[in-house]
């Protein structure tokens, strides 16, 4: 009898203890008044123009603080620069996780570095929202704690390929790209999409970073006379390529770019509307980069970073920022990493007011944004299109 009571007591104690340890959730990076978020970006180095995304994100979090924070807590951002370098990236990630002990990681523009960091993040179990880098290997296959807050390369490539295919009479396409993983993440899925649509790619050209002239490439295009060109190039090289196309009279051929450039700034760089009249880019936002629906967000960036020039990168990370804040709010005052991840997994068709695609995250699918539109000049004005000649808004 005593024995049975003792056993029952022991069982109760054990259950309580087990429940207690299970309830001991991870609250690293949270204090009564702050939530620490680590933002990694390439603020120096030759990819520094991409850090505009992290700047935008930082401005957004500062604005959230000025709006009152989340359940009485302000967001404390810790910015780390990794110059698009793997060793620095791993050091930054480990520093944020083990030394600064942040609550979560948000940011990252460089895919290569993100992939190098992934094992460290997975091991630490810290929530990580990738808000600019596009390589799908980061978030697929899904892990417990990694979320992708922008369309992945496959999505962009499909959008690009679809748009090219939607132009009637497109039979051959020339592809020109940098020989790096960034360009591959767009151009490889784009080529696959074209292949599926039975469109031939007879010409594949390389134009590397830092080259100031594209004459050999354009002359080869002149020989091949494709119906469309896909260009996976950075901002400077895109402008040079478009100018050279015009130089040799090839500018009637439409060019599909990547989400690495935007129409307004390309026009500024090239300086001549004629040169960009046939240029198209995948477009993530609910409006043009400087359009009315984006004004609120651009103003937020300029409020905290008044010297910043708004480009197509500036607001891209803010989209996932809106979703993160929503999840933090839903998790309530008793915040923990587990609760946060649970809330993130419940985000469905969430309209961020910034990204044109709605965000959905589930435990089995962490590629949050599956959709993008295309931006092109129609009548001299940047217009969001859903396919060739078809605007997204209105007729």
């Amino acid at each position: 009898m005593i024995f049975r009571t003792a056993l029952r007591n022991l069982a109760t104690v054990a259950t309580v203890l087990a429940a207690a340890t299970a309830a001991a959730e991870d609250t690293t990076g949270i204090t009564d008044t702050t939530i620490k978020i680590g933002i990694m970006g390439p603020f120096t180095g030759n990819a520094s123009s991409y850090s505009k995304a992290e700047i935008g994100l930082d401005a957004f979090y500062k604005w959230i603080n000025d709006q009152g924070g989340i359940h009485g807590r302000k967001i404390e951002t810790v910015l780390e620069d990794y110059a698009c370098n793997e060793a620095k990236g791993i050091a930054s990630a480990k520093k944020l996780i083990h030394q600064d002990k942040v609550f979560m990681l948000h940011g990252n523009s460089c895919s290569g570095v993100a992939i190098a960091i992934k094992p460290t993040v997975v091991e630490a179990g810290i929530p990580w929202v990738v808000a600019h880098a596009v390589n799908e290997k980061i978030s697929s296959p899904p892990t417990k704690n990694i979320f992708h807050g922008v369309p992945v390369g496959r999505t962009y490539g499909t959008v690009m390929g679809n748009f090219v295919a939607s132009k009637p009479g497109t039979r051959t396409v020339a592809v020109i790209q940098h020989s790096n993983d960034w360009a591959n993440s767009y151009c490889v899925p784009a080529k696959q999409r074209l292949e599926a649509a039975r469109i031939k790619v007879p010409l594949e050209l390389a134009l590397e970073r830092g080259q100031t002239d594209a004459t050999p490439q354009v002359l080869k295009i002149r020989q091949a006379k494709p119906d469309f060109i896909i260009a996976c190039l950075y901002e400077a090289e895109t402008a040079i390529f478009l100018k050279d196309l015009q130089k040799y009279g090839m500018d009637a051929i439409p060019v599909m770019g990547t989400a690495g450039t935007d129409l307004e700034n390309t026009l500024k760089r090239v300086g001549d509307p004629q040169t960009v009249r046939n240029y198209y880019v995948p477009h993530n936002y609910v409006d043009n980069t400087t359009g009315g629906r984006m004004k609120k967000w651009n103003d937020i960036i300029l409020k905290y970073y008044p010297n910043e020039t708004i480009t197509g990168f500036s607001a891209i990370s803010m989209g996932s920022g809106v979703a993160v804040v929503e999840a933090l709010k839903r998790a309530g005052r008793n915040l923990s990493r587990e609760k946060f991840i649970a809330e993130m997994n419940k985000i469905r068709d969430f309209d961020t007011g910034i990204l044109s695609g709605k965000i959905t995250w589930t435990p089995d699918d962490r590629e949050g944004v599956k959709q993008a539109a295309v931006n092109g000049f129609v009548g001299g004005k940047p217009t969001v299109l859903k396919s060739w000649g078809q605007p997204l808004f209105g007729g």
């Binding site: 791993i90 996780i97 290569g112």
Partner: protein
């Protein structure tokens, strides 16, 4: 001579390091160990042999890719892969020495070795069927005698053992007749040859040894980062490695160690000022070159005789 025993104490003390580190600082320490080998190797050719040979990143990359490739495709264990990486580095060193032997010196040598490094990088990028190009080659987790090196601490002990062995071996080599011959060649090649010393053999030896060491460093780098990408072995990397040698002290083994440690740790502090790191780094280099041209080691050598090396340039 008695002072030299101090150098045996350092590795023993080093065994205690993981007690004071978190995974971030441990990672930085591991990176330092890799770069100690890089600078030691670079110093052999630049400091002791006195040649302006910028092939270091080539050796580094060849070592890293070879180690990674045999681990991925031939599924070889890490230590064996490391040896192969070192051998590949040595072979590259041999190739580089051929140009030096043909009388190509000074700036010509600098430019052709630079070209060699960049050419290798182009190969890494475009041989992407094998190397996965710019996407990077993921390196499987290394394991040594059954222990998986899956934490920074475990990597540390393996790296420490390798570095101590290699540095000690190099130190012995440099203090032997081989080292003296190499330095003699640096100071006056024709005079040395006229003494009957086979300068060609020693030049080749210096390059091969340098390539061997830096190849080992490359293999270590590969498993430390877990991913081998072509961009890691470009001109920016070369500048950083060059700076480590110069800041630490050209032609000094201890200097190489100091330079590697200093220039791996410092950028971590510079990161506090995002956007200004390049300026700080460049300014630091300029200041050291102006005021401490023999490198940081000369500062220590003034107060601690143990740092003075007999073959160090006057």
């Amino acid at each position: 001579m008695r002072d030299r025993r101090l150098f045996y104490v350092v590795p023993l003390l080093a065994l205690l390091v993981p007690a004071f580190t978190n995974p971030y600082t441990q990672f930085v320490v591991n990176l330092m160990l890799v770069y100690i080998l890089v600078t030691v190797g670079f110093n052999i050719v630049m400091g002791y042999l006195g040649q302006l040979a910028f092939a270091n990143t080539a050796f580094f990359g060849i070592g890293a890719y070879t180690t990674a490739l045999v681990m991925v495709y031939a599924k070889l264990p890490f230590l064996l892969a490391l040896v192969l990486g070192a051998a590949a580095g040595a072979l590259a060193g041999f190739l580089a020495s051929v140009t030096a032997l043909r009388g190509i010196r000074l700036y010509y040598l600098a430019i052709i070795t630079l070209a060699f490094g960049e050419l290798m990088r182009w190969v890494y990028i475009h041989a992407d069927q094998v190397t996965r190009g710019t996407d990077g080659l993921p390196v499987p987790v290394a394991s040594v005698f059954g222990f998986a090196l899956d934490s920074e601490m475990r990597k540390y002990y393996v790296f420490l053992a390798i570095v101590v062995l290699v540095v000690k071996g190099t130190s012995n080599l440099l203090r032997s007749r081989v080292g003296r011959a190499i330095v003699a060649i640096r100071d006056n090649e024709f005079a040395t040859a006229s003494l009957g010393i086979p300068t060609a053999q020693y030049i080749v030896l210096a390059f091969v040894w340098s390539g061997f060491i830096v190849g080992i460093a490359g293999g270590m780098f590969a498993i430390l980062i877990g991913r081998v990408v072509p961009e890691s072995f470009g001109l920016i990397e070369l500048i950083v490695q060059f700076a480590m040698v110069m800041v630490g002290g050209l032609g000094s083994l201890a200097g190489g160690v100091i330079g590697a440690v200093a220039l791996t740790a410092l950028p971590e502090y510079f990161r506090r000022f995002p956007g200004l790191e390049e300026m700080f780094f460049g300014a630091l280099l300029v200041l050291i070159l102006l005021f401490l041209p023999k490198g940081l080691v000369s500062f220590f050598a003034r107060y601690l005789p143990v740092f003075r090396e007999p073959l160090y340039r006057e």
